[in-house]
């Protein structure tokens, strides 16, 4: 769409749009969804990549899932633990996990990603995603530094502000 200058890109509000996506998943469709946010860095980038989603019966630790944490608040994050009905999610690009949610809050699972404008799916069963996932989840203790190296930025509180 970006090559057409007459096209206006519209952003639909998540809390209204994603329930419709969930309805389609429940009807048995798969859904391709453009991704927003930086919480699944470094593999997935804001506004660049797309996820292929499917409804899920039994989510597993390590899956990237679409979850409705609270009513209307959706995230696509990785499951880091399941205890009974309690699920802990954490975005690959986040340092702290999300608040606990329940198994039934998980609405769908990413079965693959289209990255960097490619039409070729990186399946979550494929080598690339599995190798990346293995390393990235084990490197959690030093994630803070890895993320900083990959996406350097200076926190606002340390920035010099110009005084007028």
């Amino acid at each position: 769409m970006s090559q057409d200058h007459s096209t206006i890109v519209k952003q639909l509000p998540n809390e209204l749009f994603l329930p419709q996506v969930v309805a389609l998943l429940n009807e048995g469709h798969t859904v391709t969804l453009p991704l927003r946010g930086r919480s699944m860095r470094p593999f997935l980038e804001d506004n660049r990549d797309k996820a292929l989603l499917k409804a899920v019966d039994k989510p597993q630790v390590g899956d990237a899932v679409l979850a409705e944490l609270t009513s209307g608040h959706f995230v696509l994050h990785r499951i880091i633990s399941i205890e009974g009905n309690q699920v802990t999610l954490c975005g690959d690009g986040n340092l702290t996990p999300d608040p606990l949610c329940r198994l039934e809050d998980i609405r769908g699972k990413a079965i693959g990603f289209y990255r960097k404008g490619s039409n070729c799916l990186d399946s979550t069963d494929g080598r690339k995603w599995r190798i990346y996932s293995w390393w990235w989840t084990r490197l959690y203790p030093i994630r803070r530094y890895l993320l900083f190296m990959l996406h350097p930025h200076i926190p606002y509180r340390f920035r010099k502000t110009k005084k007028i």
């Binding site: 798969t30 859904v31 453009p34």
Partner: protein, 88 residues
């Protein structure tokens, strides 16, 4: 002319959008937003063989416009749709 298979009109959050739908997959990464009159035309011509005249007639039937405006609008719309790749 015909609408391409797999491009269906959906109403999402009050917006009329054309979404690419296969038998299995629904692709929201490339959607085309339509205004009310454009959506009305799409509903009426989807799956049929149509041309600019068909669209102009539909516009005249539904809206209070003169024929010249309807025709020029229909022509412009067909160009837009061709450009968007949703008709052939």
């Amino acid at each position: 002319m015909k609408t391409k298979k797999g491009f269906n009109l959906r109403t999402v959050c009050g917006e009329n959008i054309i979404v690419a739908e296969g038998i299995e997959n629904v692709d929201f990464s490339r959607i085309i937003s339509m205004n009310e009159s454009s959506a009305y035309l799409w509903k009426n011509i989807q799956g049929t063989d149509f041309d600019e005249n068909t669209l102009a007639e539909l516009l005249l039937k539904e809206y209070e416009v003169d024929e010249a405006t309807a025709r020029s609008d229909a022509k412009a719309l067909v160009e837009k749709w061709l450009e968007a790749g949703i008709i052939e």
